[in-house]
């Protein structure tokens, strides 16, 4: 077996953890980024994430194909997004509250329908070995990278480009920035927002399927420890920029890996506090990057959360 690598294990685990743990954050935050760019906030992505994890696992188990599971998770996410998008399109309905409601509903539904799938082991997503050049097993393990992560990595710059350079991106940003102006330009506001929420849900569902189909790779009721909702927070400190969402997710995943890896090299005190590191980090970054004086750079003007 492998040799010990001592303290080198910490940065390696943080790197490996960043890649492994960050994927759900990456997908949920990219999805939320699209939704928020349209001027809506969907806190229900936590529920979408859990529903995605459950349905992805269930479909992978029943069909034997993990990729079908991923697609199913995305489809369920679209449905959840559609529900959010349509309900929020009613007059006087608060999108933050609907998000919280759908979070509860999604979690409840996933637990309800997921009972028969706690036990069975579903086929898992494969990983791609990028560490073939190394002789060190730990490095090889850290460089076993899941295809979904790579999709997410490609998606971030693609979204950035789409926002800036395509007609669809322009419509999305206009609707999110100033509904009046968008209306004057003849853009359909509600359909744009509903579609943006559905796309957000799609990515959120896929993020969930990563949890159950790759890492940690199992369905149970304690699977998500608030990844969905923290990913929504990530979008705010990533200032609605997909590339920054990507970096923030990596940072967050790495922070999550810090607690266990410090224990493995002998830092044994205060593991609860280390385990809370991602949350403290998010809060600190939000404190440092937000400002009451100027409008948040990049914040969509129609977003209820920044008004």
């Amino acid at each position: 077996m492998s040799e010990a690598i001592g303290w080198w294990g910490v940065p390696l685990a943080v790197f490996g953890g960043a890649v492994r743990v960050s994927t759900p954050f990456l997908f949920v935050s990219l999805g939320e980024c699209i939704t928020e760019r349209s001027g809506r906030i969907n806190l229900g992505l936590e529920g979408t994430l859990v529903m995605g994890a459950m349905s992805g696992y269930a479909v992978s188990y029943t069909t034997g194909s993990p990729w079908l599971g991923v697609i199913a998770a995305g489809a369920v996410g679209v449905l959840m997004g559609l529900a959010h998008g349509l309900i929020c399109s009613l007059d006087r309905v608060n999108d933050i509250a609907v998000g919280i409601a759908l979070m509860l509903f999604g979690i409840g539904l996933a637990f309800y329908l997921g009972k028969p799938f706690i036990q069975p082991a579903a086929p898992q997503l494969p990983s791609i070995d990028f560490g073939w050049w190394s002789d060190i097993p730990q490095v090889r393990a850290a460089l076993k990278i899941n295809a979904l992560f790579l999709v997410g990595v490609a998606l971030a710059p693609f979204l950035l480009w789409t926002f800036k350079n395509t007609r669809w991106g322009l419509i999305l940003r206009t609707v999110g920035e100033n509904a009046e102006a968008a209306r004057a330009l003849g853009y359909a506001i509600i359909p744009t927002r509903v579609i943006a929420t559905c796309v957000g849900g799609f990515l959120g569902g896929i993020g969930g399927s990563f949890l159950s189909l790759y890492y940690p790779g199992s369905w149970n009721e304690r699977l998500s420890s608030g990844q969905g909702i923290t990913a929504v927070a990530l979008v705010i400190f990533a200032r609605w920029n997909p590339m920054l969402c990507f970096y923030a997710s990596l940072l967050f995943g790495g922070a999550g890996a810090l607690g266990p890896s410090l224990q493995s090299v002998g830092v044994t005190q205060g593991y609860y506090l280390f385990n809370a590191a991602p949350y403290v980090l998010t809060l600190l970054i939000m404190i440092l990057t937000c400002s009451p004086k100027r409008t948040l750079i990049g914040a969509p003007g129609e977003l209820s959360i920044t008004r």
Partner: protein, 378 residues
């Protein structure tokens, strides 16, 4: 007992008159009549009852009780350790006429069972792992298994099969039941390989899938090649180790199906024997012992069948020790024993035997033996 039931039923029916009317209107199955004839037993779990772990082991016991004639089994899962469990117990008693309850989670005991039991003298409360003392109500019983005996066997097998001599233990919280297992596992491994060490990582809670997977990964990165665990559901740790090509010793239930390559053996509960025994005693009106402990000898625990990687030498030594444990002639925690800071915790000649005389000491264990890499908080 019959008269008790009538009384209970009358009280129930009076109280629930309105509810019963509605129930009748809705054409509910006349469940209550069945309860009068049957002996009703309630099981309460803190998590899902099919978690490949702690709750599933109890649910398997409940399933064995279900097969008994004249017994009606009630089950509730995911019941938190607060007012909810108090009300679940009372509801099983008042609304369904339960006579024997198994609230199975550690945290149900104090203060919840201690609060409810005095109110229902004719109901028996059987709790896993609580420390019953004669100052507590007589209708409370506490039972538990010396499952660390099976973790000791796990350790022996791991000591033989591990190449690096570095073992890993993913633990939820530093409580005595968990420390017993960590220590016994380490002592078992050291019996084979005196240089063996066990790295411990506390995840902080009973079910933290991502943390458990991370803990498992980071230990394997540190050269650990065999892991075991004490968390509510060993599924994630077992699967993560399997993915990384490491070996696993299971806990609570058999996880062999999850890790066909790397599963060595496992420490399992055997509630399927004990629970029907307790229910039979309660039905006959016999007194279940208030304080009941046992290991291999009493049949409260068992060992998973050995996996493919376990060699003959390992099997032979493990079987010998298991036979000695089953005969009641083997001591695991015996002096001189030092903790991992060099302090003597059991003096030469002394021991903590698997018997009622040292149960209290065993179940207040607060040290990690020499060879464990890790530290207790505070």
């Amino acid at each position: 007992m019959g008269s008790d039931f009538t009384l209970n039923r009358r009280r129930l029916l009076q109280g629930a008159a309105a509810g019963a009317t509605v129930a009748a209107l809705a054409g509910l199955p006349t469940a209550r009549r069945a309860y009068a004839a049957d002996f009703t037993v309630g099981f309460i779990y803190v998590g899902p009852h099919d978690d490949f772990g702690y709750n599933q082991a109890h649910a398997q016991g409940a399933a064995a009780v279900k097969k008994m004639a004249g017994v009606k089994v009630l089950e509730e899962e995911n019941v938190p350790e607060d007012v909810a469990v108090e009300k679940s117990m009372e509801s099983m008693i008042q609304q369904d006429g339960a006579k024997l309850l198994f609230p199975t989670s550690f945290g149900y005991f104090d203060p919840h069972i201690l609060k409810i039991a005095p109110k229902y003298a004719d109901v028996r409360f059987e709790h896993a792992a609580g420390l019953w003392t004669d100052k507590l109500p007589k209708n409370i019983g506490s039972y538990f298994g010396y499952i660390f005996e099976a973790q000791f066997i796990n350790g022996i097998v791991a000591g033989h099969t591990s190449k690096s001599g570095k073992l890993g233990f993913v633990a939820a919280k530093p409580i005595p039941q968990v420390l017993q297992n960590i220590n016994a596992f380490t002592l078992g491994a050291k019996l084979v390989n005196p240089k063996a060490t066990t790295q411990v990582i506390f995840t902080g809670d009973w079910s933290m899938p991502v943390k458990e997977a991370e803990a498992c990964n980071s230990m394997i990165d540190q050269g650990v090649d065999t892991v075991t665990m004490h968390v509510d559901s060993p599924k994630v740790v077992t699967q993560t180790a399997e993915k990384r090509g490491a070996m696993t010793c299971g806990y609570h239930c058999s996880q062999a199906a999850l890790a066909p390559a790397g599963y060595l053996t496992g420490a399992e509960w055997n509630w399927t024997d004990l629970y029907p025994k307790f229910v039979t005693m309660a039905m006959k009106g016999e007194m279940i012992p208030n304080f009941y402990r046992g290991g291999f000898k009493e049949g409260l625990i068992k060992q998973s069948p050995y996996g493919a990687k376990v060699g003959d030498a390992a099997k032979k030594q493990a079987d010998e020790v298991k036979a000695a444990l089953s005969a009641g002639t083997y001591l695991i925690f015996k002096g001189p024993l030092k903790d991992n800071k060099g302090k003597e915790v059991i003096a030469a000649g002394a021991s903590l035997s698997q018997s009622n005389e040292s149960d209290v000491q065993l179940e207040s264990m607060h040290f990690l033996v020499e060879g464990v890499l890790g530290d207790l908080p505070g």
